[in-house]
Amino acid sequence: MRLPGTFLVVVLALGCAAAQAFEVSVPRYVEETATSGIEHSYTGEWEFMVGGGVATFDCDGDRMPDMLLSGGTSAAKFYRNTSTAGGALAFVAETSGLELDMVSGAYPLDVDSDGATDLVLLRVGENVVMRGLGGCRFERANEAIGFDGGDAWSTALAATWERGAQFPTIAIGNYIDRTQDAFPWGSCTDNWLHRPVAQEHRFAPPLPLKPSFCALSMLFTDWNRSGTPSLRVSNDREYYKGGQEQLWRVEAGQPPSLYGPADGWKPLKIWGMGIASGDLDGDGYPEYFLTSMADNKLQTLAAKPEAGAPKASFADVAFARGVTAHRPYTGGEVKPSTAWHAQFEDVNNDGLADLFVAKGNVSDMPDFAMKDPNNLLLQKPDGTFEEAGEAAGVASFETGRGAALADFNLDGRVDLVVVNRNGKAQIWRNDDAGPGNWIGFEVRQPAPNVDAVGAWVEVRCGGHTTRREVTVGGGHAGGQHGWIHFGLGAEPKAEVRVLWPDGSQGDWQPVEAGRFYTLIRGEQPRGWKPYRKG
């Protein structure tokens, strides 16, 4: 019998990569929706059957994640985080300038590298870049930075900084041609690639990414560790004709080109809805979890040559690792599941990345489960995962869409917020009492790209190295900007280094468990403590 918050076998031995240190521990989540101040619904019918993303970011300088919840036909809603460190989750709705309607998703990103996080709002209609002014105030910036917001049904975003650029490159995923409401099949609209004008702080006219296949998630990721991220696009096969999942080669100064059979790419056709990435097996290459309907996918490189670059061939290991998450695990329904946002985080601080998946029926699809609980899949030392959503307390039967795992009260334990379609958003505080240690980082470098998007943060302890890629994109219609969390297991200290986006390597630096650090390029790690305490 496993008790939440209690380790079955506690072998406080070596190392943060707790393969030898711990058996699985189930964290205890406490739903605090009613007391948190969060009261919001993502509303709408057909044009908002997808989307519902949440963006988490700090906009008032207290380094606690604030958030924007997309609203669909309702206005998007901004919440300032007023929690105290280790305390109950507390938010206050404020007018920020972000309260646009028809918002399907939002991603935080410091577009102009001024240190104030900006947001890109994905909308059914014109997308809008909202420039952060500080103090959680935002203003429209499309005209000032040459950003063409278009007039599409936008559903995905990914961003990177191409080599030498002063501005990011932003990919926008667009869905169905919404004017074809009676017969939308085969009407996928073009995704757009917003590249900067060379050496300028503005965007060139967008480049259509042809062909486009109704993207619902995008991620710039360095899948082959070449130093140049490629663009993964997860597409909804419900609406495309002749489509498949896509991987675009995006190299500075070159037109984007698709990876194809000659590169080892194999067609995969799923109801692609979300992407989560993480190096699960410690080989230096990220794995990708792709959400869909019924079976979900977990891809790993099919072959990793000892020398030379790997081919763009991926094997599906979802079944082998126990993350197909194809059917509700509680609630009594046996019909297949519908999965949306996915995210890897170490929710029990045992040194192993776990997986959260938001679930919910598209809209009155009787062949799929209506009571479809969110998944919390805990990674075990052998690399397989175990479902713990119900034991942990996050098995909501609301109609989930977007979500974010973030440490809202800066206690070193990853909390959770989920946006539900035509239902109230829910928020849970991670109240795990387990002994696992943790550490949090933010990464900074001089402009441009002050947040070092494209960097890798590596943590070494006990002879093992875990790593995370700094990305903008993925999930379902929403992203997180803020502390990068690592569980350390029993280890009281570790070393950290940053592999910067330009390919240079930082030195290994000693750090202590249970603390937050700012990693500034060329400097020693700077410790930081939350100043608002309960």
Binding site: Q180, W185, D295, F319, K335, P336, D364, D367
Partner: protein
């Protein structure tokens, strides 16, 4: 012309209020009825692709009931058409039209098809529901244009009554309820190397699709066993056995595919959820032929009814044989006995190998269509043009059926015996549909 584009154009024409049959001309009652018949079939080809329970057997069932619905709705007002009641298993006479009252056949068939499609696809997603409602609203308005209001009301009521009758009949066939996309929650695999085992890493497909489908009620043939097959070649791992030789043929063929063979395998792949499925492929072929020939209403109605019936019977008969013999797939055998790293180019379907379902249903379809259009009817097949696959040309329906059959060997998912005997089984099943009396 692309299927989807044709359907979109047809929908657009309906939405614009332009008569479907001959824009700018007064359409005849027969032409309006035929167009209502065809446009609903075209929409259903798309719904099949986007409704998760619509695996090929389930799709074939829907085509059969839709074809019979339209045929019976028209037969009640035609001196020339002979009802299928009493000929199809369990079908009783549909409600008759009121003597002495006027009906409009286009309105009747439109209302019948709209009602039947909405029920058969009641489980489709929100987009499909929108399309169904939009089509019913607009095509209904179009069919009723210029028809007296009382005739419209009477005709719609009759069309719905016929559809209700067919749907009530359908509800008793054993195939109406599909759970978990057709994959049983529990299933015991047959022991022994000769038998089917899962061939992929999809959790849902670790059991076979619809193992009881062979026991659903058939339409024109007596039951699922009516066109049974001899056993497949005896299972053996000996290099001089026929079983081994057939497996080696699959391995060697796939490993040395020509571009043409690869194109054939892709063309007839007809994957569920990514295409109108194999039965939908043949419905698409038939619709093209009817339009090309500007076929009259009786011919159109009997073609789609006979074809739907034989496709459904083909899947019932084929599934009966599949689970009777429960044979291992080439992928499993070749990897175990010949080449552990061998890959097929198509995804191996999640059910037993013998016979080939595409072969059985293509043989049945060719049998029916040849009887209607003739043995040397040449045609072009653009079913998958919207998905980027080029149009293919055939000198006859049987040439297409044989290519569909051998495509499964090129794709690495069937042995030769399953293809050849599947085509034979299709001939047998198609003969039952051809024996139906449709004219007075």
């Amino acid at each position: 012309m692309r299927l989807v584009r044709r359907l979109m154009i047809a929908v657009a024409v309906v939405l614009c209020g332009v008569p479907l049959a001959f824009a700018g001309q007064a359409a005849s009652d027969q032409a309006r009825s035929r167009d209502a018949l065809i446009i609903w079939h075209r929409l259903v080809l798309e719904l099949v692709r986007h409704t998760a329970t619509y695996s090929p057997p389930v799709a074939s069932r829907a085509f059969a009931y839709l074809g019979v619905t339209a045929f019976e709705a028209l037969a009640t007002g035609s001196d020339g058409l002979h009802s299928l009641a009493g000929q199809l298993n369990g079908l009783t006479p549909v409600p008759a039209r009121e003597t002495g009252q006027a009906y409009d056949s286009a309105v009747v068939v439109q209302a019948a098809m709209a009602h039947a499609a909405a029920n058969l696809f009641g489980n489709t997603g929100p987009t499909g529901q929108r399309a169904l409602k939009a089509m019913a609203r607009k095509a209904g308005t179009e069919a009723a244009t210029g028809v007296p209001e009382d005739v419209v009301r009477r005709s719609e009521d009759h069309g719905r009554a016929v559809a209700e009758h067919i749907l009530a009949w359908a509800a008793t066939d054993g195939g109406a309820v599909i759970e978990n996309m057709g994959f049983p929650l529990e299933y015991k695999l047959t022991d022994g190397p000769a038998h089917w085992v899962p061939t992929n890493l999809i959790r849902q497909q670790q059991v076979p699709l619809l193992p009881d489908w062979g026991r659903t009620r058939s339409f024109a043939m007596p039951d699922g066993a009516a066109c049974g097959l001899p056993p497949p070649p005896a299972y053996s791992e000996a290099a001089n056995s026929q079983f081994y030789r057939e497996a080696l043929e699959v391995r060697d063929t796939v490993n040395n595919l020509t571009d043409e063979q690869r194109a054939i395998a892709r063309f007839w792949s007809d994957d569920p959820m990514l295409s109108p499925t194999p039965p939908g492929h043949w419905i698409s072929i038939a619709i093209d032929a009817l339009e090309k020939e500007d076929a009259d209403l009786p011919t159109s109605a009997e073609t789609l009814a006979r074809l739907g019936v034989t496709l459904a019977d083909a899947f019932i008969g084929c599934w009966h044989s599949k689970f009777e013999h429960d044979l291992v797939r080439p992928l499993t055998y070749i990897r175990r006995v010949i080449d552990p790293k061998w890959e097929a180019i198509l995804n191996t379907p999640p059910f037993p190998e013998y016979p080939s379902g595409h072969s059985t249903q293509s043989g049945a379809a060719a049998t029916v269509l040849t009887a209607i259009f003739g043995p040397s009817y040449s045609f072009q097949d653009g079913t998958h043009e919207a998905d980027g696959l080029p149009v293919r040309s055939y000198p006859s329906f049987w040439a297409a059926a044989e290519e569909a059959g051998i495509s499964r060997l090129y794709g690495g998912i069937h042995f030769r015996s399953a293809i050849e005997r599947g085509l034979d089984q299709g001939r047998c099943i198609g003969a039952y549909a051809n024996a139906l009396r449709t004219r007075n």
